[in-house]
Symmetry: C2
Subunit: 353 residues, 2 copies
């Protein structure tokens, strides 16, 4: 009889250990342990006896003791920029779905797009002895030393969405290049040529790939890339202000863009809100296609043609890869980067007026 963590020591409570069962049934601890684990070297009647007793008194093996013994915590750490972001929420849902069914615990932390928070969170998680790490880098992150050290030490790490090229491990990303290519092509096909590109920080894998897709689509349509049509608005607390400035600058150009391609979820939402605030209608006044997983933005502007990232799928894939790494006894030599397809939801109303 023990007092489990979190249960007031002073209260009598039937939290029983394997020892209690042994004593009560006149068996040895190891016999009980084996019986509970359904070992072949235990007679079926003893098993039944033990298992029945355990069920009666709803015995629960102490996970902490198990962890100590087995050298693993059965919990994995997740680091995301922000949980109040539909995309990351979806990823987390995906992670949870697989984790729980595999007996794993998920510890979620947020960086709020701050590098120092990222370092601190990773530190904290590792200190808490997680079995593996799932991480999407924050926009501020320039180098990944804090992760390289751990990776060299053998901590299983899987990157998702915002990945690093400086660490060789499993990664899951969306097909950013194609997503951006499709979005831009759609605008071009609809008849727009002056298409601005609003994106986040320049030094993110996601940005690079989407920018490339945008440029290639223009090139394939023989439209010249105009550098003053490309605006970088790094995610963060002051995103709205940055986007506002970007819009001002774009609209003040000699040939202001007739269409916008917003390359990040948060930016799409912000742009949508700001256009609405300024009384600019989409697509009558200005066309808009953007990456977005935000249902609200969707409901809000049924004319938004959106590039949708497979959040749930990404979460599932990421943790599946991680669990594979964890189960692998020897260091993996070959790492994989899975690319999941994006989906372009075209709305009729995004056709040129």
């Amino acid at each position: 009889m023990r007092t489990i963590a979190g249960l007031n020591k002073c209260m009598h409570f039937e939290v029983i250990t394997i020892r209690d069962i042994a004593r009560e049934l006149g068996l040895s601890v190891s016999t009980v342990s084996k019986a509970l684990r359904d070992s072949h070297e235990i007679s079926s009647k003893t098993k039944l006896l033990v298992q029945d007793y355990a069920r009666e008194h709803n015995y629960r093996p102490n996970p902490i003791a198990q962890s100590l013994k087995q050298g693993q915590s059965k919990s994995i750490g997740v680091v995301v920029p922000a949980i109040n972001n539909q995309f990351f929420s979806q990823v987390i849902d995906g992670i949870e779905s697989v984790a729980y069914s595999n007996g794993y615990n998920v510890i979620i932390t947020q960086t709020h797009e701050r590098y120092d928070m990222e370092v601190q969170n990773v530190e904290h998680l590792v200190h808490r002895s997680i079995d593996g790490l799932l991480i999407s880098l924050c926009t501020e992150t320039q180098n990944v030393e804090h992760l390289q050290k751990l990776h060299r030490q053998g901590l299983p790490i899987v990157f998702f969405d915002r990945v690093s090229n400086d660490i060789e491990t499993h990664k899951v990303i969306a097909d950013n290049y194609k997503g951006a290519y499709d979005a831009t092509s759609h605008l071009l096909e609809t008849g727009y040529k002056d298409i601005a590109h609003i994106t986040s920080t320049a030094n993110a894998s996601v940005t690079t790939e989407r920018l490339a897709g945008y440029k290639q689509a223009l090139a394939d349509a023989d439209v010249a890339v105009q550098n003053d049509y490309i605006k970088f608005c790094p995610n963060g607390t002051d995103l709205t202000a940055k986007v506002e400035t970007a819009l001002d600058e774009l609209l003040a150009l000699n040939t202001p863009p007739q269409a916008l391609f917003t390359a990040w979820d948060t930016i799409t939402t912000t742009v949508l809100a700001l256009l609405h605030k300024r009384g600019l209608r989409v697509p009558q006044d200005i066309a808009l296609v953007g990456f977005s997983n935000t249902t609200l933005a969707d409901i809000l502007n049924p004319s938004l043609t959106a590039v949708h990232q497979p959040g749930f799928e990404m979460g599932k894939t990421a943790i599946e890869m991680l669990l594979a790494l964890i189960k692998a006894k020897y260091p993996i030599e070959e790492f994989e980067t899975k690319v999941l397809p994006t989906q372009l939801f075209v709305r009729a109303s995004s056709v040129k007026a």
Copy 2:
């Protein structure tokens, strides 16, 4: 030298235990342990020796071993309806801020407004031996037996926002009554009399309190309460459809409301989106005041007068209460329900056209 959880067993890695230090320094384990804990019964030079060595080799006490020894996991469970909800995100931020600085870990789980998920999550968390539980009930929850059992057993529980009257423990809520009263009064003072009330499930503490505030405000202004102005749209996956129906019904009334008071964050957002979709302008076509912590809704419709709940504060308060419960050795007799003030953000444009 041990291989820590999550680090590949096969890789040599300098994760050292208290034992390694002892061996290396020619001391006993307990001396090292005491030295690290800065015990007074250890000479300062030995302490320094040990502590230096520990720092050099960046020794980390194994939290799992500590947990097992001390009978507490230093982690607390959080159950929320959904993390992709600005309000709950803010609460979580508040929780994290206090938890981390107190050496506690936070395990977040979501119910997605489903009762069975709530039961399962709580089960899972307790099984993971958390030291305490922070929970906001989901809309489906009618009875709280799953929590009562644990509470009787002495598990420290603190409710926030969506609380239960059937369990005596610490609780933190917003001043729902006053928030609703203020919102309704604002509309009345602005000149509206026909004010509809769209809210979530009837059997939630939050709903009851806000409904009471709404009714009292009407009563104080000598306006009769009209039951067909009150619509219940329980949160869930099909919320949008329910709200759509509610709006249809309201607008089809003989005297359709000129103003709406939406009593839940999600409902405010949904209504806003649906009005926008229907081309109804706020407040020119219909006035709207609602509970909302959603920045997007805010940016999106600068004319939205919103009742803001103190999410961050609520999270902080909740976990502070929980930590107090955890630290208390003996069962608490007196429980407290903290009520945090809401704030009404009035926008000039919400004045009657």
